[in-house]
Amino acid sequence: ASRWQQLASRQLSLSPGLCGSESPLARADAIFKVTMIPGDGVGPELMTAVKDVFKAGDIPVEFEEFHLSEVQHMASEDKLDHVLSSMRNNKVAIKGKIHTPMEYKGELASYEMKLRRKLDLFANVVHVNSLPGYSTRHNNLDLVIIREQTEGEYSSLDESIFSCSDKSRRIAKFAFDYATKKGRSKVTAVHKANIMKLADGLFLQSCAEVAQLYPKIKYENIIIDNCCMQLVQNPYQFDVLVMPNLYGNIIDNLAAGLVGGAGVVPGESYSAEYAVFETGARHPFAQAVGRNIANPTAMLLSAANMLKHLNLEYHSQMISDAVKRVIKQGKVRTGDLGGYAMCDEFTRAVIANLSV
């Protein structure tokens, strides 16, 4: 708390351009509210890790928790409405995976899909970055995978029905806008238009149209089977990948495997209004519940991305630096990265590494 007081009474810098290195902090009394949905499996444990790290780092974020779970019979339309109204206020959420039970309960859409539909979270972004210090077969990887998430459905929040071409155009524009914002040079569209000539042909056409507005970004396309093979042989040729819903699941998980598994890849879902942060490869990992062996890296990195989205750049950098430092040091690693540490040990190591 004293650190806050010191910084709050600091003299204003002489020129706005000069205060680059010491990034601004948020005031302690200005708290950002974020919706939290722990989900199933190891979700709650990962959320605990996030909350612990946030508390240790004095981060001005307050979580509104909603325990929405189908397998634990804690899901209902009412709960979903509560979550949606909370989202409408906060606009930002962090969530774990809400598992869909195998048996058919009389409803065609799972709660995860319903949430996605109602918030119109059309774009899913997965950041595939190699972790420094943890070597895999492919090191120094830096990919972004963008996938359309609501194909074939409509968003009942706005009562608007998007045609397929609108959706393709929307996701293509999202991919190119994302590439422009992050300074990427290439966008590759993944498709199977040789077989699904109409559907994926439309997707490709939309991508090509949108690409004309971005003369600085190179646009290519690749068929899904070739893409998978290239990803495992030479993933460095890709920069940003954009694809319809069907292939996204496969490619997400494949790319996650390239850098270390489902425990290290963060992801987020965007709509025009809302942003939901989660892990990249969505698995509830129910076998690990209660055993304290899950890897919180993905959720922590995703939480750091969430802070960046909320304009809290300094805190975001602090958390992601701490996580990367712990992994680089190599002393404390969870089982999936070849170590013996428990989930809470890893969290404690991250907290110890949060720089002052």
């Binding site: 205060c19 930002v92 524009k173 600085k216």
Partner: protein, 420 residues
């Protein structure tokens, strides 16, 4: 049984295209090409125009050729908008960096895509990049781009190229007396709507005989109707009672006469709003003697330039008034008088008010009304209550002091902010 001869096809196509035109005012080029293919003898005296049922369509150079279906969806993801930022020359870059700072401080969900335009280069690539960026994002905030007189006359004004290519046909400026600013006239509240794409700014000049230069002033019925309709709609929306058209139709009987006639036609559709007209020389004289008589003014391009600068001077100078350029699909915000301010660049004495208020207009356009009112109130509080004025208003303050005072006011409102 309808016979398919050329006459019937012509009639059918005319009917079809007129229906399309009533719904969408775009794709002049395609219409033109169809009519040219039907009857190549339809070229009018202006070379490329076709007269159809009383309306005249002219194939403007560099017109935005995207039809409505190809306008991409707005660049808003996760609640954050992306806006193109063109720093320009002179005081533009420093003022826009102050705007960025205020936005970052107030946690406004707007990300800026910066596109630099080099005014010293002869090629148009820079400005075309900027235009493509605006086509992607839909909204832009810009400083003025200098038009160097040392470059050959074939190099057009970059600002003009931007406005005509994106078809930003209406320039709107609201001049209001501020209580904190000392001026000779008080209680001024004038909205100026200026046609932004044609008139004397069509860059059509030639020297047919050495020593004799001809400059073409283009006034089209289409654009005049469009701007008059915009003016009356805006007047109705804002609850204004009078629209004055400014012209010089006693001399330019055909050009300004057409403009005036279009204004009168549109005025007949708005019986609740009074319409009158005034010749530009009388207007300028009235503006400096009794400016309170004016309410909303609509005019072609060059008179708009003159009148808007006079009005800006009446309310306190070029550092106070923001301006907006609206097209059908795009909007670009800047200061109203579009000064580069080379002589005061880098000296920390420029007035940031105009640019900050322009950014508030942009936030209103993006429907972020809360942030817009927050920043606008902070700027006006600084202007009126703390009376922190820069040199152009006769004060001693620097740009940085004004901006920091604005941020302090925002912070005192208890909003969610990032620190300095």
């Amino acid at each position: 049984m309808i016979k398919l001869n050329s006459k019937n096809i012509r009639i059918f196509l005319i009917y079809f295209f007129i229906r399309r035109l009533r719904v969408k005012m775009a794709a002049h080029g395609s219409l033109l090409s169809v009519f040219k293919s039907i009857n190549p003898r339809w070229n009018g005296p202006l070379g490329n125009s076709v007269k159809i049922f009383g309306t005249t369509f002219t194939n403007h150079r560099n017109k935005a050729t995207l039809t409505r279906e190809h306008i991409p969806p707005p660049a808003k993801y996760g609640g954050r908008h992306t806006v193109t930022l063109i720093p320009g020359d002179g005081i533009g870059p420093e003022l826009l960096s102050h705007v960025k700072e205020v936005f970052r401080f107030s946690c406004v969900p707007v990300d800026f895509e910066v596109v630099q335009v080099n005014s010293a280069m002869e090629s148009e690539d820079d400005i075309m990049d900027a235009i493509t960026a605006i086509r992607r994002n839909g909204v832009a905030l810009k400083g003025n781009i200098e038009t160097k007189h040392t470059l050959p006359p074939s190099v057009k004004s970059r600002n003009n190229v931007l406005r005509t290519t994106l078809d930003l046909y209406a320039n709107v400026m609201h001049c209001q007396s501020l209580p904190g600013v000392q001026t000779r006239h008080k209680d001024i509240d004038i909205m100026i709507i200026r046609e932004n794409t044609e008139g004397e700014y069509s860059s059509l000049e030639h020297e047919s005989v050495p020593g004799v230069v001809e400059c073409l002033k283009i006034i089209t019925r289409n654009n005049s109707l469009r701007i008059a309709d915009y003016a009356f709609r805006l007047a109705r929306e804002k609850g204004r009672s009078r629209v004055t058209a400014v012209h010089k139709a006693n001399i330019m009987k055909l050009g300004d006469g057409l403009f005036l006639q279009c204004c009168r036609e549109v005025a007949s559709g708005y019986p609740d709003i009074t319409f009158d007209s005034m010749i530009v020389d009388n207007t300028t004289m009235q503006l400096v003697s009794k400016p309170q008589q004016f309410d909303v003014m609509v005019m072609p391009n060059l008179y708009g330039n003159v009148v808007s600068n006079v009005c800006a001077g009446l309310v306190g100078g070029p550092g106070l008034v923001p301006g907006a350029n609206y097209g059908q699909d795009y909007a670009v915000f800047e200061t109203a008088t579009r000064n580069t301010g080379k002589s005061i660049a880098g000296k920390n004495i420029a007035n940031p008010t105009a640019m900050l208020l322009a950014s508030c207009m942009m936030l209103d356009h993006l429907k972020l009304y809360n942030y817009a009112t927050l920043i606008r109130n902070a700027v006006l509080t600084t202007m009126n209550e703390t009376r922190l004025h820069t040199a152009d208003l006769g004060g001693q303050g620097t740009t940085l002091e004004v901006v920091q005072s604005v941020m302090r006011v925002i912070q005192s409102k208890g909003q969610l902010t990032a620190e300095f």
